[in-house]
């Protein structure tokens, strides 16, 4: 339903909806435990549906998650759902960052371990590990992350492009960096992260 409605929602600026829900503001929702994941999933659906109506054009919504000590985020539109990570079936001889495949409601979905994809050491799956499920050109793929944090709104004007000298073949996936409180958040391009560069096929 979200998708269908998003198509019919007027562009930001033309939509003036005084009867709409009051702006919730960038108040973060903390997430831990299964309830929170569900609340998170609900908020994903709601957020994905609302941005044009409630957010100024310059604000974009991102899903923030942790990998080790660092914070990362991907655009909320890219995330279909977040599921617990268990029974990932390994695919022998698959490219190094591919964790394997999972079954989700009758579909077999490949899962990319984001740690391996961006050059961090792999960690074992824990109760906090999540798979973010994304649709990409008709394919459905999963992204293994350490744990979900929250949904954040980021003013596009505050996104800083990564300096050219840190851009390598492996870091093409970095859209930019923004601040969240006193911490930095790395903003990732989902399509780029879900494409395996030749250099990472065997490590």
């Amino acid at each position: 339903m979200t998708r269908a409605r998003r198509e019919t929602t007027p562009e930001p600026g033309t939509a003036t909806s005084p009867a709409g829900p009051p702006e919730a503001g960038p108040e973060p929702v903390p997430f831990d435990g299964p309830d929170a994941v569900l609340a998170f999933a609900d908020s994903l659906a709601a957020d994905a549906a609302e941005p044009a109506r409630t957010a100024p054009a310059s604000l974009a919504t991102w899903v923030m998650f942790g990998l080790g000590e660092e914070l990362f985020a991907i655009p909320v539109e890219a995330v279909r759902e977040a599921v617990r990570a268990f029974t990932i079936t390994r695919v022998p001889h698959a490219p190094y960052p591919v964790a394997g495949v999972i079954q989700l409601r009758g579909r077999v979905i490949p899962v990319v371990n984001l740690r391996k994809r961006i050059g961090l050491a792999a960690e074992p799956v824990t109760h906090r590990t999540r798979i973010l499920v994304a649709d990409l050109d008709g394919r459905r793929l999963g992204l293994l992350v350490d744990g979900l944090h929250q949904v954040i709104r980021v003013d596009r004007a505050t996104i800083v492009s990564p300096p050219d000298d840190v851009m390598t073949e492996q870091s093409q996936y970095l859209i930019g960096v923004c601040r969240h409180g006193d911490r930095l958040v790395f903003l990732l391009d989902v399509a780029a992260v879900l494409t395996i560069p030749k250099s990472l096929e065997r490590v």
Binding site: T2, R84, T89, P92, H93, E201
Partner: protein, 521 residues
């Protein structure tokens, strides 16, 4: 199988009667939906009822004859003519008297059959085949016969060679080319034949969609709800076997949508929605699979409430990946929460299983207060294979049974290391041996003890050593996304009964594969 002329006549009668009574039902439902009374369809309905009545008399089905006569009478007077619910009821009773009417209609009693189940099935499980399609098949069979004759001629040439002298190299080459050509021709012909026959199994979805209209109408009346029901994509063709699965699944989904998803007009008005609930079934096809969507603009499903129910039942929440998965769990329903998907339990679990069994998938999207959309996808035709389930180093693999020629207990001493690989004496041959764990990067050396499974592809053999054989099962072949690199040795994936995705081994590339590193110890 229908040597008895009465039986074949009965089959034809049943097919015709079902079609006509279905058309009558469609017309009744259309009149009901329009709420403007009867239109031009009245004449057609009368004609259909009259024809079936006449044929029923000829077949000696007097009960049916009388019921249809009563319906014709009811259509004469305006008061009884406009009581659509009563007419639908009579139609159901008429259909229930059809021999073998187990599946005569959604509203019909299931035990309406008067003949042994087998007698009715011949008609129920049949498809209509146009003559042109049969002609095309006969033409292709003729092509296959020509190709066979050609191969026979070539075989004669080979026999002549064996009997006499070795022919010059040039002649050999021509012969080989001719055999190859004949083989390719036969291949193409058989493939075309297969396509055509599979095509005959294709039935348009329309029949299913019109039976849904009936379900919606009945349920809405019973629940005092007002529903605007639309369907699109009735022309989409589907394999007959899958049509039955889709029909069952869609029936459950629309019934649930009317009973649990859509609100009563009063509740809808209070929520600022139009009083008529919207329910839409959409079918689309991309040439390989059919996608069916059932979307309502009802109250939606709350994930939090699903979780509450799971907690109330003492389910281990840490094993739940996504609360919507709970919807598809057998026996899970949230009957106590009126604002929920009460009663969705059993039905949805069955739907999920049926769809999965046919190689399809099901998905749900719901926004609280705005509605729910179920999407289910089934392949246009099924590709089910039998496979041997192998177990090595804690992992399961499916090996297509067609490639398996033997399996035996194996001890490490049975294998012989030569040229950096292993070989094994099997029957009167020496064949290469691969430890499946080594091949799949879970082991580094040949295991001490286990089973050797001999596979054959293109007259070549190889033995695969595994820990255990876990039995034979039917699997539905699914693809492997290109991001995995589609490594050699694996032909796809499949889903086991316990929900795990596992890899299907590809005998073709396994037979040829060079010994995996580490196989020689």
């Amino acid at each position: 199988m229908t040597g008895n002329p009465y039986e074949s006549l009965l089959g034809e009668f049943l097919m015709d009667a079902r079609e006509r009574l279905e058309r009558v039902e469609d017309a009744l439902l259309a009149v009901e939906a329009r709420s403007g009374g009867w239109g031009p369809e009245l004449e057609q309905v009368r004609r259909d009822l009259h024809t079936v009545k006449g044929n029923a008399g000829m077949m000696g089905l007097t009960a049916l004859q009388q019921l249809l006569h009563a319906m014709e009478d009811a259509l004469q007077t305006p008061e009884t003519r406009d009581n659509i619910a009563a007419l639908l009821g009579e139609l159901d009773r008429a259909r229930a008297t059809l021999p073998g009417s187990g599946d005569a209609g959604p509203g019909a009693p299931a035990d309406g059959g008067q003949l042994p189940a087998g007698a009715g099935r011949s008609a129920v499980d049949s498809v209509r085949v146009p003559f042109t399609a049969l002609d095309a098949i006969i033409e292709q069979v003729a092509e296959a016969v020509i190709a066979r004759n050609r191969l026979r001629t070539l075989l004669e040439a080979v026999r002549a060679i064996r009997a006499g002298s070795v022919p010059p190299a040039e002649q050999w080459r021509t012969l080989v080319d001719q055999v190859r050509e004949a083989h390719q021709g036969l291949d193409a012909t058989l493939e075309g034949l297969q396509d055509r026959i599979l095509g005959l199994r294709m039935v348009p979805l329309r029949t299913v969609l019109s039976s849904l209209r009936r379900i919606v109408s009945d349920e809405a009346r019973a629940a005092e709800k007002s529903v605007r029901f639309d369907t699109t994509g009735g022309d989409t063709p589907l394999d007959k076997a899958l049509l039955d699965v889709a029909s069952e699944a869609l029936g459950h989904l629309v019934r649930n949508a009317v009973i649990h998803g859509l609100e009563t007009p009063a509740v809808r008005r209070a929520a600022g929605k139009p009083p008529d609930g919207r329910l839409r079934v959409t079918a689309t096809s991309d040439g390989e699979s059919v996608r069916l969507e059932v979307a309502d603009d009802g109250r939606g499903i709350e994930r939090g409430a699903l979780l509450d129910e799971a907690r109330r039942r003492g389910l281990d929440l840490t094993t739940i990946r996504d609360p919507f998965d709970l919807l598809f769990m057998a026996g899970f329903s949230t009957r106590h929460g009126a604002d929920l998907s009460a009663g969705r339990g059993i039905g949805l679990a069955a739907v999920h299983e049926a769809v999965m069994r046919q190689g399809g998938w099901i998905d749900v999207h719901s926004v609280v207060g705005e509605g729910t959309r179920f999407t289910l996808q089934v392949p246009l035709s099924v590709s089910i294979t039998r496979a041997l389930l192998l177990h090595a180093d804690g992992e399961d693999y499916a090996l297509p049974l067609s490639a398996v020629v033997d399996s035996q207990r194996f001890r490490r001493g049975d294998g012989h290391g030569i040229h950096g690989g292993w070989v094994w004496r099997w029957r009167d041959q020496v064949i290469p041996l691969t430890d499946l764990g080594c091949r799949c990067e879970t082991a580094t050396t040949l295991r001490q003890d286990g089973y050797a499974v001999v596979i054959e592809y293109g007259r070549k053999h190889r033995a695969l050593v595994v820990d255990r054989l876990r039995g034979i099962l039917e699997i539905v072949v699914r693809g492997l996304d290109p991001i995995t690199g589609r490594p050699e040795g694996f032909g796809g994936t499949t889903i086991l009964g316990d929900g795990r995705a596992i890899l299907i081994l590809d005998p073709r590339t396994l037979v040829d594969a060079a010994p995996a590193p580490g196989a020689a110890a």
